[in-house]
Amino acid sequence: MEEHATSAIETYMPYIVVFNFALVGVVLVVLGKLAVRGGLSEEPGPRQNLLEFLLDFFVGKAEEIRGCDCVKTVVPLLATLFAMIFISNLLGVIPIPVINQPPTAYYSGPLALALCAIFGTLYVSGVFNGVFGALKHLFWPNPLQLITEVSDVMSLSLRLYGNIAGEHMVALLIMGVAPIGIPLVIHFLGLIPAFVQPLVFVLLTTSFIAGAIKHEEHKEEREVVAEAQEERTKVDVEAQTA
């Protein structure tokens, strides 16, 4: 009977992944609507304070990308990815049969998220460097940049998949040996990667975006530094002659 149940879950796994992703999306939309219900005020209450505290982290990360005013474009992408992955990972600890399959523990889920992140990076690069600049970034200074994009997708998705699925496999194996008590500890330990993985995902996406944008800025920075040095030498020369 039990075997039959597991095989049924495995048969319908693709649908379950899609269903759970949609569920996470609906939960996030409802939470967001509830959070901003009644409008935002100049003097924030506790709820708005908490939300601003959470959002402030992503704004800080986006501001670390120097040389562009891209906070409004980047923050929604980063915050959505983080919330999506985090809630998806947390589904694993809910003790309800179908819903407790985290969509990030099946390779198609992380792959979709990583593709979203990389295409988001390309989009942001297109907005700030122009479409031509973004395409040029893929082939210049060397055409291997294109391979970098593919390997970025692979590394992002495999990392997330490996962590979450690995934790589940370990929990399952230990469940076979010690069914009472110990799996609780394993699940509790699983909460750590459940939080760290979205964080790492978002940080890496940020650094990819920074790498895609920075390009032109480097040149300007170097020019600014060179100008400052010239001025300094001028001042020195003037001081010496005086």
């Binding site: 590394s155 495999l158 990392r159 998949y161 490996g162 962590n163 690995g166 760290v196 964080l199 790492v200 940080l203 890496l204 650094s207």
Partner: protein, 77 residues
């Protein structure tokens, strides 16, 4: 006998990968902790850089895990 040998072969990648990954992660975390104790004011930036470095090391270990899983899936005892 052959099945056991194949099973041993299939766990080799993750054993080697996890060992070397753990050693390099130890190095990363020790260095980051030394930096944080020396300059607590840049703790946030160091922690972020440490997480990224660890994630890059971890990715390789995860590749080993995936290869091990694929090998284990192909073994029939």
């Amino acid at each position: 006998m052959q099945g056991i040998l194949l099973a041993l072969v299939s766990i080799t990648p993750i054993v080697v990968g996890a060992t070397i990954g753990a050693l390099s992660m130890r190095r990363i975390s020790v260095t980051a902790l030394e930096g944080i104790t020396r300059q607590p004011e840049v703790a946030g930036q160091l922690f972020t850089a440490m997480l990224i470095g660890m994630a890059l090391v971890e990715a390789l270990v995860i590749y080993c895990l995936v290869v091990a899983l694929m090998l284990a899936g192909s073994v029939k005892i």
